[in-house]
Each structure stands twice: as C-alpha cells, then as structure tokens.
C-alpha cells in the first residue's frame, strides 16, 4: 500500500473529526494574513498624515479583534487536535498488537522485542505527526497562495523577484530530502541498537551482575552511544544548513525589497506600509514553502515507518495497520468475557512431511511424519539441537512450516496457528513467559472458569508454592515472573496450560519445572482420569517408559519411532541416549 493510501484510510477512520480539525486549524493559520494587512493600513494612514487620526485607532481596535479571534480558535482547535492525535497513536498501536496477538498464520517477531517496541513508539509517532501535517496543510497552502497574491498585487515586479528565490529553496529541499532520509535512517538504526542493548541487558540483569560484567556492558553501551551521536550530528548539521538557507532567503528577500523600492518610496509608488507588509508576510510565506518541502520528506519517512510495520506484521493483509476497530478510549468500560469456542474433539492427529528450516541456516526439521490417537502419550526425544522444540512450534503454527500437511480427525488443518489453541490444544513452552500481573491472572489468562483453577493448580503441583507465596494467587509475579523461582515459573506455565481445558496438551520439557515424582504423578493422573492426550518433549526415563510411542529425533529428522523396548533394540541412537542415564544408575547401585 502506498503512503497516500495509508493516509486516506487513516483519515476515513474518523473523517468528521479530521475535517473539523482541518477547518479550525485552517482558520487559525489564515488569520495572520489580516495582521499584515491591518499593520500596513496603520502605517499608511500615519505616513499619509490623514487629518483624522481616529482611522489608525480604529484599525488598532480591529487588529486587537483579529488577535482575540485567533486565540479563541486555538482554544477550540487544541482540544480537538490533542484528542485526535492521541487517538491516532492509540489506534495504530492497537492494530499492530492485535495482528500480532490474534491474526491467523504464524507470528515470529522478526526483530528483538525492543526493536519491535520502537515500531509501536517511534514509527507510530511518525504517522501521527504526518496526520498532523495533513491537518495543517490546507491552512498553510491557503496562506501561501493568498499571501503571494497580495504581494504581487502590491507590486508585481518586486513581488515576483522576491518570491522566486523562495520557490527555488523548496526545489532545493526536494533534492536533498533523500539525503536527509538516509541520515535519519542511520540515526534511527543507531538508536535502535542503543535501545536494544539497554533492554537486553536488563532482561539479563542477574546474569550480568553474577558475571560481574557491569562495566563492560556499560562500555558497550557507551560505544553504541558514540556511533549514535555521530549519526545524529550529521543529521542535525544538514537540517540546520537547509533551515538557515531558508531564513537567509527571507532576509535576502527583504533586502531586495529595500533595494528595489528605494527609489519608488521617494516618489510614492511604494509606501512605507507596503514595505512593512512585505516584511510581515515574507517569513510566513517562507515557512509555508519550507513546510511543503518538509511534507515531501515526511511523506517518504512515513513510507519507511509503514514498511517497517509491515515487516513486523510479516503477512498482514494490506491496510491492516489502519483498519477501523473499537478502541475504548472513552465511554463505558467493557467487562472481559471469555469466548466459548466449539472445537472438534480430538480423534486422531496426523502430520505428513512437515518441514521447517530457520531462514538463513540449515537448522530445522525435515520430513516429519507422526500420527497419534486420542488418549495417547507421545514422547519426542533426542539430543541437544535435534529439533524437538522446532517440531512442537511448527506443528502449532508458531513457526511457519515450509511444507507439509497436518490433519485433525482426518481433515486438513488450514491454519495451525489459530487451530492449535484451546479447546483443541494448549501449550507450555520450555521457558514459559509470565507477565507483570498477579499469579491468578497469569494462570487464568482471562478465563473466568474459576472452578478449573484449583484443578489446574493441583495438577501442576503448585499447592506448596501457593502457601509459600506472599499473597498466594494474588501475588504480583513481577516482570516476566522474576519473583518466582525457575521451577515455580514453569509450574505456573503448566497450570496455565491445564486451565485451558484443552484436548491435546503440548509440553516442552517439564523436567526442570517438575521433579520426577510430580511428573510421574502428573502423567498418571492425566492418563488415568482425565482422558487427556499428550505430546511432550522429554528425555526422562519415566516419560520414555510410559510413552505409547517415542519419536526419536536426530539432526532435524525422526530417525526412529515406536515403543521404548523396540527402539532400544533397533536404534543405536536410542541406546546411546538411554545408556547415558543407565551408566549413572549402575554407578550408584
């Protein structure tokens, strides 16, 4: 989508509000024309020494009225504008986040979270600023055209000679705008690196402290800062030179008027009032021209911003960023109610030739085939880097598969990303992410079915933790759950999965979350009582022994499949993994 299309759709979102702003600010920008004309009239009345002095006083009264009306316009305009401008920001942010959180397909954030946050902040600001520009545009344009018209009508020759260099400036701005854009981009990239470094460091603050490397991290940040400063200065210098050339031209203009009008002033062909009018109008006319030059540069900058947003959203349909949607910024607050979704109860799940390779590498999974029936307990095992987690994530559409088919009860799943959610399945990642809310909110995730909560907590063996926590379920868990221990964090993640009440439970290696006893307990109660189907990554012997089938992975492929005993006989890799544990057990015995 072009920038123009984006802006048109954005305007269409709240058309009436936008155009009210345009009208009010148009009036606001036009009023100063009257200042110039009134001041000219005052000086003319003085220099002609008209007998009735009251004329100048009347003009002064009118001038005072003009000033007052502009203040009134500002008062109204600002309230309209601030509401509109802030709503535009809110609107864009909502649409970005909504797509990432809720759209079909797979969502892999193509950049670090800190960089992605800068899409929500800096790029959103750029677009809102551009909307502001559009609001001012017509008022400014009218001012420019009328102003130049007035100057030409006073004296066409002087008017033309003075305005011509101003137009040239605008053209010059145009040729430089791509350079400005380049400098801005470099500056922004440097900023992103600084922001990133801060975010990552504080995400890993305990590791940095424990390593005692606070100073080298600070030195690293300082290096990034130097680079950013150099880039910012290049940007400032260029912008400032252009601005100065513009201002210089105003003075050249005024100087030209003085030179050209010198003789006419003596003969009366050009009045002092005319000179004052020129001096009054020229700076604003220059501003208008600079502004229009800026609009072009800004237009291109917004293109960069929307490109980056599109990159973040990967496969969003065009216009998603500016799609009308309720914002709930004012008015009554809606209560959240969980949606009841009808699922198709799991009978069988089949995967055919599933492939996923990480872009720009050879790592990934290849030709994955598996089949599981309701009530089965399927364990995926293998060495480090064998592709176990990748398999789980590709299956659920968290990673975009390159090829392959997934069938649920024999029917192809079009969009695993939205299909593999409750009530079909729920998931616990290897390192579950919790948010700065209460433990209850983190586990429920909006689910109001409170009766499921105790059951989920019990299954996840969180009972003792609850007793130990300051406020039990209402404990605020801190950023990313840092107030919880590693094990508590993962058990909370598991509880969250159980609280969904899904058919298929997908666990990515709970071994550090649950001790073996609890894990055993968990499998037993799940398998015996609850009619649950599980797809888990594990290398625990308890899990391997209980598995209805084991998928043994090696270098991204399933190299063997079956029951433990069969695999131990047929696969050297399986024996290798198994013996590693058995060795130690014999050593102990």
């Amino acid at each position: 989508m072009t920038t123009g299309q984006y802006m048109r759709q954005l305007i269409a979102w709240r058309r009436a509000e936008f155009f009210t702003n345009v009208v009010v600010w148009g009036v606001f920008h036009m009023i100063p024309l009257s200042y110039g004309l009134l001041v000219k009239a005052i000086f003319d009345s003085l220099s002609h020494r008209t007998p009735a002095g009251w004329n100048a006083w009347t003009l002064l009264a009118v001038l005072a009225g003009a000033y007052a009306s502009r203040q009134a316009t500002f008062f109204v305009g600002f309230q309209l504008f601030s509401r509109y401008y802030l709503s535009v920001q809110a609107f864009l942010r909502r649409n970005l986040l909504d797509h990432l959180m809720r759209a079909r397909g797979s969502r892999v954030i193509p950049e670090s979270p800190a960089e992605a946050v800068s899409r929500f902040r800096d790029d959103v600001n750029d677009i809102a600023d551009y909307a502001e520009t559009w609001i001012d545009l017509s008022g400014f344009a009218l001012y420019g055209v009328t102003g130049i018209g007035i100057l030409l009508s006073v004296n066409p020759v002087i008017g033309a000679i003075v305005c011509a260099p101003l137009l040239i400036t605008t053209l010059m701005m145009r040729t430089l705008s791509s350079t400005i854009r380049l400098y801005r981009r470099r500056m922004r990239e440097a900023t992103a690196r600084v922001v990133d470094a801060i975010g990552e460091t504080f995400a890993a603050v305990q590791a940095v402290k424990v390593a005692g490397q606070e100073d080298s991290m600070t030195a690293h940040l300082a290096d990034l800062g130097v680079e950013r400063r150099q880039r910012a200065l290049a940007d400032v210098l260029l912008t400032e030179i252009i601005r100065s050339v513009n201002n210089g031209l105003v003075n050249v203009g005024i100087g030209l008027v003085m030179v050209l009008a010198a003789s006419k002033l003596r003969t009366g062909g050009f009045t002092v009032g005319d000179l004052v009018l020129f001096i009054q109008l020229l700076p604003r006319i220059t501003n208008v021209l600079t502004f229009s030059g800026d609009v072009i540069a800004q237009h291109r900058r917004v293109k960069v911003s929307t490109d980056r947003m599109e990159h973040l959203l990967v496969d969003a349909p065009p216009g998603k960023i500016v799609e009308p949607s309720p914002l709930g910024l004012t008015g009554p607050i809606d209560e959240y109610w969980p949606e009841t979704r009808d699922g198709q109860p799991l009978e069988t799940l089949e995967v055919h030739d599933l492939n996923y390779v990480y872009p720009g590498s050879n790592a990934g999974i290849r030709d994955i085939r598996l089949r599981l029936r309701r009530g089965e307990f399927v364990v995926i095992t293998g060495r480090i880097g064998a592709g176990k987690t990748t398999l789980l994530r590709s299956l659920q559409g968290l990673l975009p598969r390159n090829s392959g088919e997934i069938r649920w009860n024999g029917r192809p799943v079009e969009d695993p990303g939205s299909f593999f959610t409750p009530p079909h399945s729920s998931y616990t990642a290897q390192v579950p992410r919790l948010f700065s809310e209460t433990l209850r909110e983190n586990v429920l995730f909006g689910e109001t079915a409170d009766d499921r909560l105790p059951q989920a907590m019990e299954l996840a063996a969180m009972g003792p933790d609850l007793a130990a926590l300051e406020n039990g379920l209402d404990t605020l868990v801190g950023t990313r759950g840092v107030k919880l221990s590693g094990g508590q964090l993962q058990r909370a993640g598991a509880a969250r999965m159980f609280a969904r009440g899904a058919d298929l439970l997908i666990f990515d290696d709970l071994s550090s979350a649950l001790d073996v006893a609890t894990e055993r307990q968990l499998w037993e109660s799940l398998l015996r009582d609850r009619d649950a189907t599980c797809l888990v990554v594990s290398h625990r012997r308890i899990a391997l022994q209980r598995a209805s089938q084991i998928l043994l992975m090696h270098q991204g492929r399933i190299v063997a499949q079956g029951k433990l005993n069969a695999l131990l006989e047929s696969s050297s890799e399986m024996r290798h993994l198994w013996e590693a544990e058995e060795d130690e057990e014999e050593g102990r015995a």
């Binding site: 006083w57 007052a68 959180m101 809720r102 954030i109 003085m258 003789s263 590498s361 880097g385 968290l398």
Partner: protein, 594 residues
C-alpha cells in the same frame, strides 16, 4: 541530593571549550539581531523623508550582509549545542545504566526491560533537550530580551517602561504555567513507560499467548492500559497548551500596546515613522525569545519530569552495601553460614514470611556440596545470598572467613561462577555473549576454555565460529546450546567457587555426559555447590545438605550419611534402589517425609 547546577556542572564541564565557542556564536548573533532593526529604521526615515536619498542602497546592502552573517552564526550555534547535548547525555546514559545495573535485585524484579529503556533512554532524551536546546536558546533569548528592553528605554522611557512591565508580566505568567504542568507531564511519562513495558512483555511471550488462545484477553488488557495512558496524556497536553494560550494572549496585547504607543507618540510629533516601526520590530523580537522560552518550557517540563525521574533513579540506593574487604586469592574458598535468616519482604507485614530460617553450616575449601530440596525449600535463595544479590536479614555468611557484608561485591562475584537454568543472550556475536562484550578477554583464552569444556567441535560447527552473530529468540540456538555458552562464561572467570543450578536439566543425556566430565574438571581444586534434582548428580559430591522449608534437615559427609541407616540420604538411596526406573530426589524426599 542532585541539584540542577550539579547536573549541569557534571555533564557540561567536560565540554567547556565547546561551550565557550558556543557562547561566542550566541553573543555575536544576538548583537547582530539587535543592530539590524536600527538599519531598517534609518532606511524608512530616509525613504519617507525629504533629505538626500543617497545612502538608501548602502543601507539595504548592509542589511543583507549582516543578516547573512547572522545565519552563519546560528548554524554554528545549533550544531555546537547538539554536539554538546549528545556528548553530555551519552555520558548521563552511561552513568544511569551503570547505576541501574548496580541496583539490587529487589529493585530489578519490579521493573520491565521496557521500563528501563524508557528510564535510561526515553527520560534522558528529554533531558537532552535541556543541554542542546534549553540552555542555549533560553540564554540567547534572555540576552535578546535584555538587549531589546535596554534599546527601548534609550529610545523613549515611556515605551521602555511599558515594555518592561509587559515582559515582567509575561515572565510571571510563564512561571505560573510552568509549575502547573510538571506533575501531569510526569504522570504521562509514567503511563507511557507502563504502556510500552506492557507491549514489550507481550511480544516476548507471544508464543505462550497465541498457543493458549489468549490473544483476545491480552488485547482487552491492552486497551485498558492504553485507556489509562490516553486519559493522563490528554490531561497533560491540555495543561501544557494553556502556556501557549496565555502567551498568545499576552503577545496580542503587546503588539496592540506598542503600536498604540508608537501611533500616539508619532501623532504628537515625538518620534519618526521609522521609530514606530522600530518599536513594532523590537516587540516582534521579544516575541521570538519569549515564545522560544515558552516553547522550550514545554520541553523543559518534559526535561524537568525527566530529570526528576533520572534523579529518582540515581538516588535509588542499594540496600546491599558494598564493603571493602577483598577475598583472599587462591583456588578454592571455604564457606560458612552462621544462623542465616532471610525474607524477601524485609520489613512490614510479610516479614514473617521467611525463606531461610536459621541456616548454619561450613564447607571447607575444595569440598563439593550437593544441595537437595524441593522447590521453594530455599536453595535458589541460598545461592543468591552467596552472590550478595540479597543480603541476609539476620545472621552472617563468611567466605574464607570474610563476612560477606564487609566484602567487596565486584571481587566477590569475580570469584564465584554460576550456571542457571535460563540463559539470556545478547544481540552480538558468540564471543560478545560469552565475554559480556569485555574486550580484554582474548580469543585464545576463549578457545582454551572451549577446548577444556570439550565442545570445540560444536563451536567449529557454527557458521562463523566465535564471530557467529546471535540474535534474540528464534535464532536457531536451542536452550541447551545457550547453556553451553553459560558454561563458557563461567569457565572464563576461573572462579574459586562454582555453583551449578540444575546445570544439565535441559540437556539431552549424551551432551550431559560430555558436560559432566567438563564439570568434574572445573570442580577440581575448587569449592562447588551443586543444586541437584537427581540422585546421580550428587554422586560426585563430598557433602550433602537436605533443605526443607528453609531449614537444614540434614548435613554431612556423603559417605558417612550413606552408611547411616537413619539418615535421609541413605533413605533416598534405598528408595531409589527399589524404583524401577528414573531416580528423582524430590520424589524420594516426599516418600521419606510421608
């Protein structure tokens, strides 16, 4: 207390030369701007008078020349101020960053990385305005104001007096408006920090949200948070706009006032028409600086709110106070806990919620301790105390006889290595990630350590060896592989005490065995604490401690405990011998306690 002047002195003093040059440009520019209207007045009087008109073109060209010179000075001063601004705030950013990193975990755990970004970069960027814009422009504007008023007094004392009163009134209004908007502006920034913190957290947890179908819920929460921001922002914007509004009204009054005075004096024949214009022109020249001041005041409010937050951050003190006693050099350290009690909520209502309830033991230098206990028993906390991430609420911990509360924290952490379960990576190469960007660590040392770990084949397998760039999540590096990097990090320190917190929990058995051997080599000649969940992990240790609910329920030499039939450890061994398969310490513990 960190005052504005201290602030300026600390961050501007290093750039004194540039500041000097900047002042020269600024003075020159103000002088030229004050002189130029005098030329225009003479021009108008000459043009409208009846005397000889010979000087007119000369005046016009002088005007042109001086106006252009003024532009040059203005470019120079803007560039210089930006340069000074960036240098100064980069320094401030680094200071803040270092300070914030040094704050306790008790501080860190309440803050999102997004919030820290806002505090270290966002707030400082608004402070940048103080350096690069406010100081320069406002001091230039003040100079200009004083200059204009002086010249007006010289022309006609009536006008001088009226305009001085006017300026004083304007300044008064400025001051009044300034105080009103600071609080709400601060609230707005807080709300904005929270909003971006929210977004950052959700983006990090996107898999958890999507796979558990919580997108709708997250969006609902987001709209709530955003609504809070909107309300506060709207209020702050409105209060800030009243500054423009009142200043606009004041200036309208000022223009009408000067013109009226000019017209009155002119009609009485007291001044020339050129002087009427001069008054009007000087009034216009007051508008620019006073408008500049208001405009900058807007920024200043941001900066003031920013500075207040920066100061808050700088004044945040750690409760863990650095000591001055270094740890004795040597390969291994002894550890002693003496009736150590600890609670995360140090005072108040939850002070009773102790995590450690009187821990006393001694571990000799070179010994290895296996730490056993269910989650929540206090194992992780015990480790955190050793690093002084927190200080014991009561009791005393000694390493080589040095009371930790008197030890130098940096020296302490240099002597202890930790491998945790969750390894965070940075945007950078493999080398940056193992060295934490410390350039003093040579490649040879890294390679030597990798060799010692026995994972050189893994590193060679990476596309560009140590130069392989690592990204945040999703780069194709598995959790286990990240953990290998953590091992390198620890080995590089050559610590005297090594703590392994479930180091192999997420490694497959084959890799685990490989690492196990390396761990043995690392522990050789060092003191070690291994937090274990499996019995086989504790096989290699000298002593065993069983923790339960913040108490030591058992502590002693492993061999002794194994033969003592009454011990928990022998109980664990018996139970595991009867188990058909996997050996789970926690499970056995549970059975024993039943």
């Amino acid at each position: 207390m960190f005052s504005y002047s201290q602030f300026v002195a600390r961050y501007l003093f290093p750039h004194a030369k540039k500041v000097g040059l900047l002042s020269v440009c600024l003075f020159g520019s103000v002088g030229l701007q004050l002189y130029i209207p005098q030329i225009v007045r003479r021009f108008i009087d000459l043009a409208s008078g009846s005397g000889p008109a010979a000087g007119l073109s000369g005046l016009a060209f002088t005007f042109l020349g001086l106006a252009l010179a003024n532009q040059g000075l203005s470019v120079a001063s803007t560039f210089l101020s930006a340069d000074i601004g960036w240098s100064a705030t980069n320094m401030l950013r680094a200071d803040l960053f270092r300070h914030a990193l040094g704050l306790d975990m008790a501080y860190q755990k309440d803050r999102t990385p997004g919030e820290m970004i806002e505090r270290i970069d966002g707030d400082v960027s608004s402070v940048a305005n103080l350096f690069s814009q406010f100081l320069v422009r406002v001091s230039g504007a003040l100079l200009m104001t004083v200059g204009v008023l002086t010249l007006l007094w010289r022309e006609d004392w009536h006008v001088g007096a009226v305009m001085t009163i006017f300026t004083a009134a304007a300044a008064r209004v400025l001051h009044w408006r300034r105080s009103i908007a600071v609080g709400p502006t601060r609230d707005e920034r807080e709300a904005s920090a929270q909003l971006f913190g929210f977004i950052e957290e959700r983006l990090t947890g996107i898999d958890d949200i999507r796979a558990n179908g919580a997108g709708r819920y997250v969006m609902h929460r987001f709209l709530e948070v955003q609504r809070g921001w909107f309300t506060l922002a709207l209020r702050a914007w409105w209060l800030r706009s009243t500054i423009w509004l009142s200043m606009g009204t004041l200036f309208a009054t000022g223009y009408v006032l000067t013109l009226s005075l000019g017209v009155g004096l002119y009609l009485r024949g007291a001044i020339t028409i050129g002087t009427v214009y001069l008054f009007f022109n000087y009034m216009a020249m007051l508008e620019a600086p006073l408008d500049q001041i208001t405009n900058q005041l807007q920024e200043f409010q941001r900066a003031a709110a920013g500075i207040r937050r920066v100061r808050e951050l700088l004044e945040a003190r750690r409760t863990v106070i650095d000591g001055d006693r270094p740890l004795p050099a040597g390969a291994a350290h002894s550890i002693e806990f003496d009736r150590v009690r600890f609670s995360y909520a140090a005072e108040g209502a939850h002070a009773g919620n102790e995590v450690l309830k009187g821990i006393s033991f001694r571990l000799e230098a070179g010994e290895t301790l296996g730490l056993i206990g269910r989650t929540g028993s206090g194992k992780t906390t015990l480790v955190r105390l050793l690093f002084r991430l927190y200080d014991a609420t009561r009791g005393c911990i000694r390493v080589d006889g040095v009371d930790l509360q008197q030890s130098r924290i940096d020296a302490l952490r240099q002597r202890i290595g930790l491998v945790t379960q969750d390894v965070q990576l940075f945007h950078g190469t493999v080398r940056d990630n193992v060295t934490f960007f410390n350039r003093e660590i040579t490649d040879d040392r890294i390679h030597a350590v990798i060799e010692q770990l026995g994972i050189s084949s893994w590193v060679k397998g990476l596309r560009q060896g140590l130069d392989t760039p690592l990204e945040a999540a999703g780069s194709g590096l598995s959790a286990g592989e990240s953990q290998l990097l953590a091992f390198v990090r620890v080995f590089l320190k050559d610590p005297g005490l090594v703590i392994l917190d479930e180091p192999s929990s997420r490694l497959d058995p084959a890799t685990e065995r490989l690492l196990g051997r390396a761990v043995n080599r690392l522990l050789e000649g060092r003191t070690g604490i291994i937090i274990a969940h499996r019995l086989e992990t504790v096989e290699r240790v000298d002593k065993i401690m069983v923790l339960a609910d913040g108490h030591i329920v058992e502590f002693g030499p492993r061999a002794e405990l194994a033969t003592n039939a009454a011990s928990w450890y022998s109980g664990l061994l018996r139970i595991s011998a009867n188990q058909e398969a996997d050996s789970g310490l926690d499970e056995h513990l549970e059975r024993l306690s039943e």
